[in-house]
Amino acid sequence: MTTNLTRRAFLQRLAILGAATPRVAPRRLRHAARLLPPVTVRIGVVEATPSSAAARARRLGLDLGADDAKHAAALFGGGVTLETLGASAIRGSGVAAIVGGSEPAECAALARAAQEAGVLYLNASCPSDALRGSDCRAAAFHVAPSDAMLRDALQQTHAPAGAVAVAWDGSLERFGADTLNARFRTHFHTDMDADAWGAWMAVKVLWESALRARAAGPSKLAAYLEHDTTQFDGYKGRALSFRSWDHQLRQPVYVFSSAGGAKKLLAEAPASPPGSDDPTRDVLDRLGTGAAQSPCRMQP
């Protein structure tokens, strides 16, 4: 029987571990990143089966993310480090966040381990609704879209039988996706898939948060990720942000005609008619579980 730490208890643990009270850079962006001491975010890579296709794809995404962070570090200092860890070695490792996992049970275990170790878990691949719902953790931030979001995408786009909804595909072109896909292909001679994008985005989220929040420790990073003005670019044309009630990254998803072979992009969800004025977050919240319906309780 697991104990679900409340958000307050989680933050208290982080404070005990030496992190300062979270303060977040306001929306009016500070230029002063260049004048501050460089911040290096330590990221632990925890995979039960590192040789699986998904874990290997995640590794490539992490490596590209780390490469991008290194390039940004040439401008601003700091950067990220990736270190491979066993699940039992997370506590005391000094990492600020861990990434890994494909199977629901594995991801649930990583979320729990992160929570107990006082670090963050960036979920790059697991879509399970329970992980964001009844089994939610304050330490977990879900870059991968949930099963509920993928179901909504298929339904809202009236997708035919056999169609799949995914977070990313190597054939995407709009909103600069072609340049990210080209960069990935040039590095690794293979296409960026949803697992690779999820891992790349996890690194990007951590590195950019560290730069803007001017901190590399888990509690300040968590506070920044939760802040209501925080948003990120993921090459999907809209600003992406984490939902306060379940830490799910709001994002467009893509509906393809099939999972492999001669697949074709059928639609992007949620659909948004041109000239529509609806705020981005409201549009993106058409996919997945809303605050009122969410069984997740992360209240202090």
Binding site: R28, L29, H31, H71, L75, G176, T186, D233
Partner: protein, 330 residues
């Protein structure tokens, strides 16, 4: 007899002069880069008609007029990332003859670039390489490569030629280059997915559009402080192209995904008007007299012409495929 012939000649000459049509004094030309049809459309501003289409041999994006108004430069690139090939170049077109007169090698995948005010140098962003490359345009000689952010795009040069600002879309950064040393002297963090940069005519500030952030960042050029972050369409705009009126009082911002042109007061930062134009307007340019703004609309394959005194669209002109940028030569 001779004197009367001379008089007759003078009279005929005067009459011919009086019959010169009013449109003969053309207002200039708008040159539109077409990314997919690999050519440049030439629009006569007096008639708002396309009078020529010039093939430029590659994916055409950034487009600028030389300070002496005699040449148009277009950045062309190919599909081979991270390696400079024949398709990667800045192509020079003579405005009068509409002929391609030069190709300049300027690193891999040039997207946008700036021409220094004395016309002597080009600074181009190398999108797939994370660099900015400078060349001497008279000799074609390579001058320097500077490391900027990830996926650099917008390039703007100060009116005195001293500073070049380069935006980088993925690192959300602006790099500041001192052209005397060709070194990056500062890097700033701005809002999400910065695209274009433009100096105010008095050089006091640089405005940078953030496409995913939905804002325009205003940078003080002396202190490098961020003075203001202006929301475009309440933060839902997708600002890309930007152009100042010559007097610096108005700034025009093209928002791709929302298909609009926002008119801002450059001093108060207030939005004065939001004008629906074509689909995916990116490039924007203003006529020398400030009377008309032209937007290159990538997904409707046309150009919108906005009358700045009424803020209304007065013409739409079909151009090539996937129009990207527009530059105006008088």
């Amino acid at each position: 007899m001779k004197r009367s012939l001379i008089r007759l000649g003078a009279l005929l000459g005067a009459l011919c002069g009086a019959w010169v049509p009013l449109q003969a004094q053309a207002a200039g030309y708008a040159f539109v880069s077409n990314e997919l049809s690999h050519d440049v459309s030439v629009i006569d501003l007096a008639s708002n008609k396309v009078v020529a289409t010039i093939p430029v041999g590659g994916r055409a994006r950034g487009i600028q007029v030389s300070p002496d108004q005699k040449r148009i430069y277009v950045a062309t690139s190919d599909d081979k990332p991270n390696v400079q090939t024949e398709g990667d170049a800045i192509v020079a077109v003579d405005v009068a003859t509409r002929k391609v007169v030069a190709h300049y090698r300027i690193g891999s995948d040039p997207e946008q670039f700036a021409v220094t005010p004395d016309g002597s140098k080009l600074y181009a962003s190398n999108e797939d390489g994370g660099t900015c490359t400078a060349i001497d345009v008279r000799s074609g000689k390579y001058l320097a490569t500077m490391v900027v952010g990830i996926e650099p795009e917008g390039v703007a040069v100060s009116p005195d030629g001293r500073w070049v600002f380069v935006t980088s879309e993925t690192s959300n950064s602006v790099s500041i280059i001192d052209t005397r040393s060709n070194k990056v002297v500062d890097n700033l963090l701005v809002d999400l997915r910065p695209r274009a940069a433009a100096f105010t005519p008095d050089a006091s500030r640089v405005f940078v559009t953030a496409e995913v952030g939905g804002t325009v960042t205003v940078i003080n050029t002396r202190t490098h402080d961020i003075e203001k972050t202006i929301s475009i369409e309440h933060g839902e705009g997708k600002p890309v192209g930007i152009a100042f009126s010559r007097d610096g009082r108005r700034v025009y911002v093209a928002s791709g995904r929302t298909g609009t042109l926002s008119v801002l007061d450059a001093a108060t930062y207030k939005t004065l008007a939001t004008i629906p134009v074509g689909k995916r307007p990116w490039g924007v340019a203003i006529t020398r007299d400030g009377r008309y703004v032209y937007t290159a609309n990538g997904l409707s394959n046309d150009v919108s012409v906005v009358d700045t005194s009424t803020n209304k669209v007065v013409a739409r002109i079909k151009v090539g495929e996937r129009p990207w940028g527009v530059a105006i030569a008088r």
